[in-house]
């Protein structure tokens, strides 16, 4: 693999990360957010594999009868395995949450869901929403002694 390909891979992995993060920010749909996350994680994993690569080396598997040559770094490969598994678990969990939330709220739009969540929290707490306070929050403490 030439230097050029290597840098292409680097650019690709960084691009994936950027695209993934941008996707998380720009999507309103829960499912797309999960997809974007997995893209970003793929970029991270690619990067991790990339740093263990050596120009002059083979895969780290010893074949009996073949002379020992240089091999690529095996530790990033082990780490990337772990990282992939972690990503899979988290994304599955996120999907499950999205499914349940859709069942409850009937939408996958993050903006709507957030507003509903906020309203739910306030309803349970018996509190007015912070946006609709008709007086400053501190009016109950500091200013009561002002003579009316």
């Amino acid at each position: 693999m030439t230097e050029f390909t290597l840098y292409t891979f680097l650019a690709a992995s960084l691009g994936l990360i950027a695209i993934g993060i941008g996707g998380v920010i720009l999507s309103r749909n829960l499912f797309r957010i999960v997809l974007a996350l997995s893209i970003a994680e793929a970029g991270g994993n690619l990067l991790l594999v990339l740093i263990g690569f050596r120009h002059d080396a083979i895969a780290p598997i010893i074949e009996p009868g073949r002379a020992l040559t240089t091999m690529v770094d095996s530790i990033p490969q082990a780490m990337v395995l772990t990282s992939i598994v972690i990503g899979a678990g988290v994304q599955a969990l996120a999907l499950a949450l999205a499914i349940r939330a859709r069942a409850s709220y009937g939408t996958l739009d993050m903006g709507i869901m957030r507003a509903r969540m906020e309203a739910d929290i306030n309803r349970v707490a018996g509190a007015e929403s912070a946006a609709s306070l008709h007086a400053p929050a501190s009016s109950s403490t500091l200013l009561t002694e002002r003579k009316a």
Partner: protein, 619 residues
Amino acid sequence: MTSLDLLLILSGLTTLAGFAFGNHRAYPWLAGIVLTAQIVILASMPLPMAAGFGFEMFGHPVGWQMDGFGRFFALITLGAALASVAYTGGEWGERYAAGGKNLRWLHGALAGNVLAMLLLLASGDLIAFFIGWELTSWAGFLLMAQGGERALRAAMRYVPYAMAGAMAVLGGLVLSLTWTGTLDLSQLVMLVPGLANWKLALLLALFGTGFAIKMGLLPVHLWQTPAYAEAPGAATAFLGAISSRMGLFGFGLLLVKLITLTRLADLSFIDGLFSARDLIEWVAALTIVLPTFTALKQNDARYLLAWHGIGQSGYMLLGLVIGDATGSAGGLLHVFNHATYQAALVLSVFAVMHRTGTADLNSMGGLVTRMPLTFLVMLLGIIGLAGLPPMNGFVSKWLIYRSLMIEGRPLLFLMTVLGTLGTILSVYKLIHNTFLGQLRAEHEQIREAPWSMLVPMLALVALAFVTGVAPGLALNYVNEAQAALGLPVMAHTLGGVESPRGSLDMLWIVGVLFAGFGIGALLFYGAGGRSKRIHQLDNYAGGHFLSADVRYQYSDHFYAGLMHRIGPLYRGSFTQMEAALASANDLLASLMQAWYRQAVPALTLLIATVLGLAWMIWR
């Protein structure tokens, strides 16, 4: 076990007992006996007296030690507590409990305050001091919060002030530790005056803010009036008598002992034109004048007295900061004097409230015929508060005036005189609207206050009178306090001061005063003693014909003419300042909440990451 240990243990036990069975009939007796015993122990304690306990924290010993300065305040504390506890002993306590309130909390909090103050007054190092300080603040909060919903709100308003004060003190504590490496007061006394000017100024600002808040100095005084006025009667008396004096205690330590007055005068602001000492003197002077005139406008007797409590503390600080023998003696003596008559006044107001159910100065009057003894207490009390002979308030104020004149502070002297003028005006309003004039129809059936309430009140004014005639009794302890602070000690006699810079002999003055009364009486009766007794309802008629069923009481718009002149000067600036702070706080709070309500937190995260990385890479 040293006698200081005994003193503190007794206080601790009283606190526990108060919380456990403060609602029992016998508790006030028990507490009274214990408090009396404590006064005896304290008064007979050889000084300085170290406590037998203490511990070491992060390499700094924490211990307690009582000196003359602390004892002076501690004696007043115990005395005020004794008067308050006695006051609750009878009908007042029964009515309080019947109103659905909890006597156990009241007594526990009261005793807890005493314990906290004793710990504070006996502190031997700054950590012990801070422990006492915080305990005093929050025990005070507990006491203030006892009087129902309005009191709770007033106590809530106290919270930010108290915490700001405590944090300022903590900041000062930490800085003194950083700069001197010690927290022990006896070592700090040697090390602090050697610090650079800016360090001293910072220490002064931090500690000073804390103490000023506790004392209710301008401009951080707003919490005090409602918090003290709305507390239950006995608590109001105690708080008004001594609680805020803890700030003065702190100032005594800070200004006189740690920073020293000479170093204080070195801290100049505008090319030596104006020193920190001048600043404090002027703050004290303004604290005398402004709250006194605010008191003049109050229509609630409790608030009126609470405002005077703030105003009078200005005299004490002023006397202390002038720092000569006479002035500091005056300032310290004023602490004691103020405690005696202020407690008596508050208790008398609450006695009236106990009978009439109101403290509104516009809905009383003429009660002198129904509650003559209470009237007597209030009369003597306001004479003391106004600083007139023969009560003790005169002595301390005289000492302060004298010192201001000798030390060459004519403007400050003018301010104190102005303050006294306001005091006289407003206390006259107090006694007139309560006791003089025509009795209201709804108060016809009022009886004198019960003896359980009268006895402490009378005892307090008696004390104020006796120490007015023979100030030497109190000046003994004042001298001790002066010596402990390292101030020049004022030589005194039983009747007052005997010095080339000016003498005062109260025995003579009172003698002359009473002789004058005697001569007047002789002249009056010698001339035939003609007098005409008229009905109470006639005394405002002023030539008009009013039938007996029309009540006519000049209480509303009292001093209408004066208010027409000076009314526009009341601006409510401090209240507005407080409101502005609260609004700014709210604005900031909304801004901060916006952070947690952002729709796309990932975006801010991304931006912050990029900026952070840029910082780390191209720093």
